[in-house]
């Protein structure tokens, strides 16, 4: 199907982009275009104007900061995957990136577009929640930072206000160990269920941990019951089993025609266990 006609602009600053978007009702930012063009072609959306973000230098690149890492929102998933520090320090993110789609998808997708789309089967969203990332945005009313924990709010829903542009993702100092386990959907490659784990250790004790799920629930979120089961204990089999058994407590699962909510919720425990066993061995 051919897309409906639309106008196109490619500004070079964040301010121009935000302005251009606000000036035209229903206009959309364009990043890697994978989701947006499909939605336009299948008539799910019909934006009169696309504001292409690719020409804005401020949105590109990865910067080291005093506290961690700042990732421009137009950085592609492939660029992230090539980054030494991400591979070395933010292992859960690197593993989630590696397991996202295929090279063609990763070469084109920008982290900002990915996050705004807030697909329930997104891999990196769980990793970003576990790693305690925050999302920097700029809108008609100024700039703010939204913790990843609060960014995803529902099925394809985010905390972004109308007109807000994702400018960057910032990562705090990395955890001692982290990992991402995924069960891949055979048709669309996204996560049927994905679990990201970040552990801060004190000797062999888990001093602090952040666990997050994607795929099984309508948006990426923490696993508080499992976190409580691990915190303050060494990473031993009974604690791992306890965490896995309670991983899905209080969560509502989502389903599609192939994979039921029951199945997906059960997978949270399975994958959490796999990630923890793997980290213990590491």
């Amino acid at each position: 199907m051919l897309p409906q006609q639309f106008d196109y602009v490619a500004p070079v600053t964040v301010e121009e982009a935000v302005q251009a978007l606000s000036a035209t009702p229903n206009a959309r930012f364009l990043a890697g275009s994978f989701n947006l063009l499909i939605d336009i072609k299948t008539r799910r959306v019909a934006p009169p104007l696309l504001v292409d973000l690719r020409k804005i230098p401020a949105l590109h690149g990865i910067e080291r900061t005093a506290s961690g890492l700042r990732i421009g929102s137009m950085t592609t998933l492939s660029q992230l995957l090539e980054d030494e520090e991400i591979r070395g320090t933010y292992v859960a993110l690197a593993e989630a990136l590696e397991k996202t789609g295929d090279p063609q998808i990763r070469n084109q997708d920008a982290i900002g577009g990915h996050l705004e789309y807030a697909s329930p089967s997104s891999d990196i969203s769980a990793a970003l929640v576990a790693l305690g990332a925050s999302i920097d945005v700029t809108g008609p009313n100024g700039s703010r930072a939204i913790p990843a924990d609060d960014f995803f709010t529902g099925l394809r829903q985010t905390a972004l206000a109308p007109g807000e542009l994702i400018t960057a993702v910032t990562l705090p100092a990395g955890p001692a160990r982290s990992a991402y386990e995924k069960l891949k959907h055979p048709a669309h490659l996204g996560a049927i269920c994905g679990v990201a784990v970040a552990l801060w250790l004190d000797g062999d004790q888990v001093a602090r941990c952040r666990l997050a799920v994607t795929g099984a629930t309508d948006h990426a979120q923490r696993l508080p019951a499992a976190e409580a089961a691990l915190t303050g204990w060494p990473l031993v089999e009974p604690r791992i089993a306890e965490a896995a058994a309670h991983a899905a407590d209080g969560l509502t699962g989502i389903s599609d025609l192939q994979f039921s909510a029951d199945y997906r919720l059960h997978m949270i425990g399975v994958l959490l266990r796999r990630a923890l066993v793997h980290l213990r061995a590491a």
Binding site: A187, L257, V270
Partner: protein, 742 residues
């Protein structure tokens, strides 16, 4: 020269259609256009069961570019169907046939729109206003059998489209001899044919004024017959031609676009074209039958099966299609390839408001086999006996009496096929004659468990139960002192299986000329006589015998100096007979093919994914006319059956298919194909097959699902009796039995 001094058969001759297909030059129905052609789109039902009380086509007709809208009133004889003409061509007011205004499923068609472009036709379809009066619907076959269920059609009282009984021996008293009894309820799902080429066609008037339909089907003359019936035209005025056919698997046995294309071309005297989308193809052509089988098997301690009881209930959808035949076959197959002295089977093809079901590779045998082999594998476990040994003790052999009270046709090779499969896979015969297999190496990852499974089966070649069976061929020899050209007229459909190459090989062999001298004329009712369908694994057998017969007669004329020498031959195999309604006594078939399969699977006991690692498929093909193509059929059938067993999950809710796309109805891709598929080709000649050949294309589909279920049991200790074994189902079953790491 091959083994028996043959020139062309038994050889891997390159397919005559290969080059055109791989280069894209060969046209399929959707690729063909004619000048001045119009486009057709069909408006289907929006209800599972309703009376169409009014149809308003005025807005659609007013759309610029709309040429004509056909409704029920325009169909001269508004009924069609392969075994029973029980379905309206178009449902709606004004039908000349009784109850023609009732839709009984979502696949019923209401109107045909013909327009200047496909987009206009589609838009006009949407503009047609249909007023329905809903009727009570029934979607569960067991509910449909209850006395208070809504009745779908007066001709099927109690919603029973067909029922069969087998009463053999004395089952009641036989239970007393059984030391071990196993019971099970086996459920199989729908399967979509998912052929590469969705339905398409072109209707036009040919140079002789005949209504002509270019389409992909499985039997030109049957399509012609059904068009003639619905349009009330004599056969001379209707012509059916098949260009290349993009797969069929039974899914093109029933009509899709044939009748409506003929109707429109005839009325408008202009070419009319239609191409279905993948979604339309999945929504509107029939599927493999979901069948529920409740069954009970008893055996002596020594391993002899003494009694079997089974109830077989198949969901037919509202119309017969080939259901009476498919369930007839399941009725026979549900006791497996075993000689069992006491058998009672009750089989029902039940009308519901779901999508119609019909022919699909295996034709009722895969469902019957799933239950029979599931029971055999459970018996082996209950008896503590090797599954190969148990089969050896019970297998049909030369002279065995079937459940229908008559002996099998000669040439029974089931024991040899079982033995070959066991030897070529995991088993060896120990010094004491017992079968044994070494323990399977297990992966280090404790979540991954490997297991092996075995199953076997058999299936008829050619039509069963008294259905008239024939195939016509003509051989024409041209030349002077030597035969320079051979023209073979043979209508058998090349659905991708390689039939036409085999026809040419057999013709060249029979006449004794190089392959290049043979030219095949086919796929055209104006040029050939009936061949019967490309189904029931019958074409090599039937067309081979017909070609051989015609060639022998033509050669005789040639020797008598006739130039050209032309002979036509009709091959008719030995007669079969229908089931006796009370006892099932019959001579159901004239030939069979035999198959056994062993598989190795790896189950992720946490994620529930079943990976099929290795399949060893032993098939008695009688005589391999073209071994490479047989290997292709085995590998293709294995992959298709793997999809059936572990992936393909067509979901129907209230008669509506929920996943009519290949993104939501998952079929195997290259990543799902086993690491190894070993084709073991056995050649025990069929006494009446051409050069001893048997049909084989369905057989490697049949035992795979029960072999996989047995391997999953071997890996996990859990039996799962419902197909497909999706991850969801496997995890639920394992958790119920407490299997898993967490």
């Amino acid at each position: 020269m091959s083994r028996n001094g043959q020139l062309h058969i038994g050889k891997n001759i390159r397919r005559i259609d290969a080059l055109g297909k791989v280069t894209g030059e060969t046209p399929y129905p959707g690729d063909i256009d004619l000048e001045g052609q119009l486009w057709m789109k069909l408006r289907f039902s929006d209800r599972a069961h309703a009376r169409v009380v009014a149809l308003d086509t005025s807005a659609a007709e007013a759309l610029p570019g709309v040429v004509r809208i056909f409704t029920a009133a325009d169909v001269p004889n508004n009924e069609y169907g392969l075994v029973t003409k029980d379905q309206p061509v178009l449902c709606g007011p004004g039908s000349r046939n009784p109850d023609g205004e009732i839709v009984r499923c979502y696949a019923d068609c209401i109107a045909v729109v013909v327009a200047e472009s496909e987009a206009i036709a589609a838009e006009a379809c949407r503009l047609i206003q249909v007023t329905y009066e809903d009727l009570p619907a029934v979607f569960d076959p067991e509910e449909a059998m209850r006395p208070d269920a809504p009745q779908l059609m007066p001709r099927y009282p109690g919603n029973i489209i067909a029922r069969y009984r087998i009463r053999h021996g004395d089952v009641e008293s036989a239970w007393a001899q059984a030391d071990v009894i196993v019971e099970g309820t086996y459920q199989t799902g729908y399967q979509e044919h998912a052929y590469l080429q969705p339905e398409a066609g072109l209707g036009y008037i040919d140079e002789q004024g005949r209504v002509t339909v270019l389409v992909a089907g499985q039997w030109t003359h049957e399509d012609q017959e059904q068009i003639c019936h619905a349009l009330d035209l004599p056969p001379e005025q209707v012509r059916v031609i098949y260009p290349a056919i993009g797969g069929a698997f039974g899914g093109r046995e029933d009509m899709s676009v044939q009748i409506v294309l003929a109707l429109a071309a005839h009325a408008l005297q202009r070419p009319v074209k239609i191409i279905w989308s993948r979604e339309e193809s999945i929504l509107y052509h029939h599927k493999r039958h979901p069948i529920t089988i409740k069954t009970r098997w008893g055996a002596t301690r020594a391993g002899k099966v003494v009694a079997v009881e089974a109830e077989v209930i198949g969901d037919a959808g509202p119309y017969a299609y080939t259901s009476p035949k498919v369930l007839g076959n399941a009725n026979l197959m549900v006791t497996g390839p075993y000689e069992i002295p006491n058998v009672r089977v009750d089989t029902y093809a039940v009308a519901t408001n779901n999508i119609p079901t019909g022919a699909f590779r295996g034709f009722g045998a895969p469902q019957g086999c799933f239950a029979a082999e599931g029971q055999m594998n459970r018996l082996a476990e209950a008896l503590g006996m090797d599954p190969i040994r148990l089969r050896e003790l019970n297998t049909i052999r030369e002279g065995s009496i079937l459940s229908v009270g008559t002996p099998l046709p000669k040439g029974v090779s089931m024991p040899q096929v079982i033995e070959a499969c066991a030897r070529e896979s995991f088993w060896t015969r120990g010094p004491d004659g017992r079968w044994e297999h070494p323990p399977l190496p297990q992966p280090e990852n404790p979540a991954l468990r490997r297991g092996i499974g075995f199953a076997c089966g058999y299936k008829n070649i050619g039509y069963s139960f008294g259905f008239p069976e024939q195939n016509w061929a003509t051989v024409e020899l041209y030349g002077g002192s030597e035969i320079e050209q051979v023209i073979v007229r043979q209508g058998g459909a090349e659905v991708g299986q390689g039939a036409h190459t085999v026809f040419v090989q057999m013709a060249a062999e029979a006449v004794g000329v190089p392959l290049e001298r043979v030219q095949l004329i086919t796929h055209d009712t104006a040029e050939t006589q009936t061949a019967g369908s490309a189904s029931a694994s019958r074409l090599t057998f039937m067309a081979g015998n017909a070609i051989k017969g015609a060639a022998e007669r033509a050669l005789e004329l040639w020797r008598n100096e006739e130039r050209p020498a032309k002979a036509t031959f009709q091959y008719r195999p030995p007669k079969t007979t229908p089931y006796d309604p009370m006892t099932g006594k019959s001579e159901p078939n004239f030939a069979y093919g035999y198959v056994a399969q062993a598989v190795e699977v790896e189950v992720d006991i946490e994620l529930g994914f079943v990976r099929v690692l290795r399949v060893i498929s032993a098939n008695d093909v009688g005589h391999a006319i073209n071994p490479a193509m047989i290997q292709g059929q085995i590998e293709g059938a294995v992959v298709q059956a793997l999809g059936y067993a572990v992936m393909e999950n067509l979901i129907s809710e209230q008669g509506r298919i929920r996943n009519p796309h290949l993104s939501t109805y998952l079929i195997p891709t290259v990543l799902d194909v086993p690491i190894e598929v070993k084709s073991v080709i056995l050649e025990y000649a069929d006494p009446i097959g051409p050069w001893g050949a048997r049909g084989m294309a369905e057989m490697p589909f049949i035992p795979l699902a029960p072999a996989i279920a047995a391997a999953v049991h071997d890996a996990t200790g859990v039996w799962i009796d419902k197909l497909p074994l999706t991850p969801d189902r496997v995890v639920a079953a394992l958790r119920e039995q407490g299997v898993g790491l967490f």
